[in-house]
Amino acid sequence: MAKPKVAFYWCASCGGCEEAVVDLAEDILKVVEAVDIVFWPVAMDFKKKDVVAMKDGEIAVSFINGAVRTEEQEEMVKLLRQKSGLVIAFGSCAHLGGIPGLANFWNRDTIFERVYKEVPSIANPKGVLPKTKTKVGDMELTLPEFWDTVRTLDQVIDVDYYIPGCAPPPDIIMNAVSAILEGKLPEKGSVLAPDKSLCDTCPRSEKKPEKISMKEIKRPYEIISDPEKCFLEEGIICLGPATRSGCGEKCINANMPCRGCFGPTKEVIDHGAKGLSAIASILGIEDEEKLSEEDVQKLVDKIVDPAGLFYMYSLPSSLLRRKKI
């Protein structure tokens, strides 16, 4: 029997998801034994025309990482959708928009202005900005259109399953691959990770007090935090209460709070709103009746850039999707 064909593709991403595949270490040999990789621009020499030449649905599974921000990315994911039986959004950016999705607090013009004119490391005396068409002699050079808004993969094409994480950890990837190979997939649209909050599986939860009150807000660099204590108890914002577990608590174990890369659990519509709600609900609640409204505001004002913090990985997938232009 012919081995199922598999494709990997990247859009607006950092390359970490590609590394996550390589991080499977020896396990990748099992994967390669079971499947035929027919397209993987970062690692293998196949071209777009090879994909175009395939029959519709010929690729069993396409793993697509990265958010969608350019015309080219949109074209490629639409092509892969047509040629694939299953499409998996791989990693935070494809799933929720991820870090590149924070660009939705700006638009194309403000991004170009900053990147090509303002940053201290740029020398661009003529103020040249990228254009989709440029005349050079009697030739015309083209670039794909750069959209104002970064989108998640499922805002562009139909997505069958999601593998969360920045980057997805090896065990989550292997579980997903095994489920696909054995045909043991849950209902379409599922996130292939546990549906529990990170606090539920946090190694620090046993020592967590019954009731947490954040007396003040501290940023991670401001204190040396106790590796045994709950971050919230110490005043450090951790998005564990609003974030899906399954990451292996890597950040927590490295003494860093959660920033939400696994996204919310199943029933949540807007990850950022849930995160800010969870944090606000425990902020200065010890003797809360004694605090004036001004005291509370002062406490909340200590949170720097709340929109960027609570929507760090999920802005394009949020209800509002972007800042008003």
């Binding site: 607090f105 104002d148 808004t149 989108r151 949540v268 519509i269 807007d270 950022g272 709103a273 849930k274 800010l276 709600s277 944090i279 606000a280 609900s281 902020l283 200065g284 609640i285 809360e288 009746e289 409204e293 509370v296 505001q297 909340v300 004002d301 949170i303 850039d305 709340p306 929109a307 960027g308 609570f310 949020s318 209800l319 509002l320 999707r321 972007r322 800042k323 008003k324 232009i325």
Partner: protein, 137 residues
């Protein structure tokens, strides 16, 4: 209000503010029909998600009314609301949404006049700001 397309979604707590609105009605106090009332058991029930959803679906303002601090039927619900809504307003600023579009205030069961006053003030504020036009994506 002249522009009756401007909608202000209002969440009123069952025990104080909804009673207050009732009182305003009984006393025949006027407030514009732009204020659409949704009764919730406690202002603490108002998830920030609800507010964002209201904007997403076309509201130009959101009003949240609860019992005065210290008077919450559930003792401490409105203290949580105070924190959540203030943080939500600061977050919405990052999305280019004016914080004045969200107002949290306290109206007791006996305060029919205060309800009418807050509702009228909110309508004026939103009239000044105009409709919330979110970007198409």
């Amino acid at each position: 209000m002249k522009d009756d397309k401007l909608t202000i979604v209002s969440f009123l707590c069952n025990w104080c503010s909804y009673e207050g609105a009732d009182k305003a009605g009984n006393a025949r106090l006027n407030y514009p029909a732009n204020v659409r009332v949704i009764r919730v058991m406690c202002s603490g029930r108002v998830d920030p998600e609800f507010v964002i959803q209201a904007f997403k679906e076309g509201a130009s303002g959101v009003l949240i009314l609860g019992c005065h601090p210290g008077d919450c039927h559930y003792k401490k619900g409105n203290y949580k609301t105070l924190r959540r809504i203030y943080l939500l307003k600061k977050t919405l600023e990052g999305f280019g949404i004016e914080p004045e579009r969200v107002r949290l205030d306290w109206v007791a069961a006996g305060e029919g006049e205060r309800f009418a006053k807050v509702a009228n003030e909110m309508v004026k504020t939103i009239e000044k700001l105009g409709p919330l036009e979110l970007s198409e994506v």
